[in-house]
């Protein structure tokens, strides 16, 4: 853990990089991809708070993302609600759902937790497909309006880039502060040993549910942003595969690191764009990446510097010793 000043410096550097990035990709199709990197960063961050910090797995993250998208989409496209109001409404509804199901679900641990969140995700996915009157079913929901402020509409990639990264940077700031606070330490304590955390006076049960709800709210906001920038959504984006993709992002970027979530999201969003030839075979690639990373680099990409540096230092010492 860095000192407070380092944390702030890192955040400012990262924000600056995000702000100047469009200069290099302006107008290009890559900018559109960077919009998706922003959305996936929020989603990976949401899962990482839960999985990386509190040690609670969720294979149903796509459901919260989808609920956010669909509540926003249905409220605006079918009932003419203002997109901003819809975003808040979706976040509140999803937060309440997550908080309610959080109590029974987070009583479970490990494999059982994974299976029950997965089950929840599939039930929601089936609902998206079957409530055709409301969601349009498998063929999707179109006619979702863009965000707008007065006359100004967020209708281009560049505008949406700043909108989405604005939200992403806020979430990152919030998360950095959260994990370096008392709550962050309590979460890590639960990760290492729930019993020990309880003995130290941490209300583990409530805290787990709260972080689960927070993670769901982040995902829901990402979902609303996604719906209003795409203006079209369909259930296929919110299935089990996407939950697994998010899991891969978090594992590859680095469990329990805020910026690792960005690295994982960026890698998994950009790579398929560069490796167009992979097309359908990207699934093999995810599987391989997931297996190899867990086996050989459990810390994720973000740990590469801290793996390499001590090794180099040791190497230096040995050489000095020999001389």
């Amino acid at each position: 853990m860095g000192t407070e000043r380092n944390v702030l410096l890192k955040y400012l550097l990262f924000s600056a990089a995000v702000l100047v990035a469009p200069i290099f990709f302006s107008g290009g199709y890559l900018l559109n991809v960077l919009v998706f990197v922003g959305i996936n960063t929020m989603l990976a961050l949401a899962l990482n708070l839960l999985l990386g910090y509190a040690g609670q797995i969720s294979l149903g993250q796509a459901a919260f993302f989808g609920l956010g998208s669909y509540i926003s989409g249905v409220a605006t496209a079918n009932y003419g609600m203002n997109p901003w109001t819809a975003l808040v409404l979706a976040a509140v509804v999803v937060g309440v759902i997550a908080f309610t199901i959080g109590f029974p679900i987070l009583k479970l641990k490990g494999h059982y937790l994974a299976m029950s969140t997965l089950g929840f995700g599939i039930i929601i996915y089936i609902l998206f497909n079957e409530t055709i009157d409301l969601t349009g079913g498998p063929s999707g929901l179109s006619g979702i309006p863009y965000f707008s402020v007065g006359e100004f509409q967020f209708d281009s990639d560049l505008k949406n880039y700043f909108l989405i990264w604005g939200f992403a940077l806020l979430m990152i700031l919030f998360s950095v502060n959260l994990v370096n606070s008392r709550i962050g330490r309590a979460l890590r304590a639960i990760h290492d040993s729930e019993v020990a955390a309880r003995v130290m006076g941490v209300n583990a049960r409530l805290l787990k549910v709260q972080i689960f709800a927070l993670s769901a709210v982040f995902s829901s906001i990402a979902g609303s942003l996604y719906a209003h920038t795409m203006t079209f959504i369909s259930p296929a984006s919110f299935g089990f595969n996407f939950s697994v993709e998010l899991l891969t992002m978090v594992v590859i970027g680095g469990l329990g690191t805020v910026y690792g979530s960005f690295l994982g999201a960026a890698l998994l969003t950009l790579l398929p764009e560069f490796l167009r030839t992979l097309q359908d075979y990207d699934i093999v690639f995810y599987g391989l990446l997931l297996v190899l990373m867990t086996m050989f680099m459990p810390g994720g990409l973000v740990r590469i510097p801290s793996l390499v540096l001590p090794f180099l230092a040791k190497f230096k010492v040995r050489r000095q010793g020999n001389a």
Partner: protein
């Protein structure tokens, strides 16, 4: 109307039999390692897909193709244990969940690379002349499913209670450390568990392929349904999971017939959540083992 209900019951029981086999596969691995193997459904897929391959592409006779398919799947199961599970023996459940998910994606992806994305079917084992039982019709293939499932359950029971290695495996499921103290090679038992459950999964895939078709991605849903069966049965590798599978199959058949076929798949997951929330020890067991 009663004929209609009988029809639902029969088709539910035959899907349920398949769920039972997959569920027992889950339970066998769970009991010997404490791992929920997310790749379980892929063994089911491999059974069906490789039978199709040996039959239609390599033009082998059906029994040979089926045998080869079981052998191939068992080899994949053993390899998976050796390459991914054994090196991570002492990892946290979190890591094990992730690695078996990764493994399942990888197996599914490789199957797609080799056999493509098309849906395939294999012929019925003995014709497709429907039989009539009390007004409901079933296919000979349904009888094959019932017969083979029953046979496997009997062999299973015999293995676990009447052979040294089966008893050793039960000892492992009670207490791995104690088992290793009395001289049982726990690592070997884990390997056996993977071999047996992948073989069972492949058989389930083979016997159901003529009715339901097969493709590279059938394993996901079937694996989850099998897990649901095992959860209803309290992760028993015996008769309780069989009942769990049959119950699930019948409930789904009635749900699809009487309520809506679109929500059919949701039934299994609602049951799964209810059981995990309310009776994590399974439907038939008294509370003793900790599943939470």
């Amino acid at each position: 109307m009663s004929e209609q209900l009988l029809q639902y019951l029969l088709s539910g029981l035959s899907t349920g039999a398949i769920y039972s086999l997959i569920g027992i596969g889950f339970a066998i691995i769970y009991n010997s390692t404490g791992i929920i193997n997310f790749a379980q459904g892929e063994f089911f897929m491999l059974g069906g897909m490789s039978t199709y391959y040996f039959l239609s592409v390599a033009h082998l006779p059906l029994p040979v193709a089926m045998l080869l398919a079981v052998l191939l799947t068992t080899a994949v199961g053993v390899l998976f244990e050796r390459l991914a599970i054994r090196p991570l023996r002492n990892a946290s459940p979190l890591i094990l969940v992730i690695i078996t998910i990764g493994g399942s994606i990888l197996i599914r992806g490789i199957a797609m690379l080799i056999w493509g994305k098309d849906t395939h079917s294999i012929p019925m084992f003995t014709g497709n002349e429907p039989l009539t039982i009390g007004g409901a019709t079933i296919l000979p293939q349904h009888l094959w499913i019932f017969g083979i499932t029953l046979l496997i359950i009997i062999i299973n029971r015999f293995y676990f209670y009447n052979t040294v290695s089966g008893k050793a495996m039960r000892a492992c499921s009670h207490n791995r450390r104690a088992a290793s103290l009395v001289g049982i090679d726990v690592k070997r038992m884990v390997l056996f568990a993977f071999a047996i459950s992948s073989a069972m999964g492949s058989v389930a895939g083979i016997i159901s392929a003529p009715l339901t078709m097969t493709s590279y991605d059938v394993g996901i849903m079937l694996g989850l349904k099998g897990f649901c069966a095992a959860i209803i049965g309290g992760m028993s590798s015996g008769i309780a999971t069989v009942f769990g599978g049959l119950l699930l199959g019948v409930l789904e058949a009635f749900g699809a017939g009487l309520i809506s076929s679109g929500y059919k798949d949701a039934i299994a997951f609602i049951i799964l959540l209810l059981i995990l929330f309310i009776r994590p020890q399974g439907l038939f067991k008294k509370a003793e083992t900790e599943r939470v």
